[in-house]
Point group: C2
Chain length 150, copies 2
């Protein structure tokens, strides 16, 4: 019993010390703003490459590579900001994110994997290779937004 | 005269073809949103390390390193979005930015240099070393905001 009591005490103390999962942000609103900001920066960089792939912007291998590199890096950042308690507020995130975190995380992982492939493709400087990789990223954006974004 | 006429024609054609400097963004508002987003993501990451340096958050060498790495990378991004025509709108940027671009760019470069030093400091895992580097970054934030932010 003494051991149980001790365990409970330690658990209670841990719960008191552990802040909510958005605690790396000062408040939930900051977490929401953070993930939206990161996703916007990512989308703008990806969009630049996608526009070249679609023939809507002239192909510039250097700009494509820089943009793909930026998008790949920033794609890692939003996910830490989807902690518990960040489902309400100025956000289009669906409650389903917190109801099925494994599926959401899987989508996030897939997007990052495709973004890494785009970065590799951009290094070739070959527009056709880039087009294929852009399609791969685009698919992961759409499937995640369809499932988890209002 | 023929050469002059030809030069003028080429210049006119170039001006028609060359889009404004925010052209890597679809509209000026996107450029403003982009730089604000990048600066927010940077500030949140830097702020996490600064809080540890100030003793306001428990020191976690891994989190400090990740955050400093993120801040260093994202610190490179906002500057492309301060093109001509992005001085008006939902922004606290002072007109002085576009009146003294060399000084503004110099401040931006200094901040990035200090952010790179912070990244190096975070790799040591030594809080005292990190504290010094945080101070260096903080100084560059302040001097630029004092001069160029409303």
């Amino acid at each position: 019993m003494k051991t149980l009591a001790r365990t409970l005490l330690i658990t209670a103390a841990t719960l008191l010390v552990c802040a909510p999962t958005w605690a790396q942000f000062a408040k939930a609103e900051d977490a929401i703003k953070y993930r939206k900001s990161a996703l916007f920066v990512m989308q703008q960089n990806f969009g630049r490459v996608a526009a070249m792939a679609a023939g809507k912007a002239p192909f510039d291998a250097k700009v494509a590579l820089d943009s793909a590199t930026n998008a790949e890096f920033v794609a890692k950042l939003p996910w830490a900001a989807f902690g518990e308690g960040t489902d309400k507020g100025d956000t289009k995130a669906k409650p389903e994110i917190w109801l099925d975190k494994p599926k959401f995380n899987d989508y996030a992982d897939k997007m990052q994997a495709e973004m890494a492939k785009l970065s590799v493709a951009a290094k070739t400087g070959n527009l056709d290779t880039i087009k294929v990789a852009v399609g791969g990223v685009g698919g992961t954006c759409k499937s995640c937004h369809d499932a988890f974004r209002q």
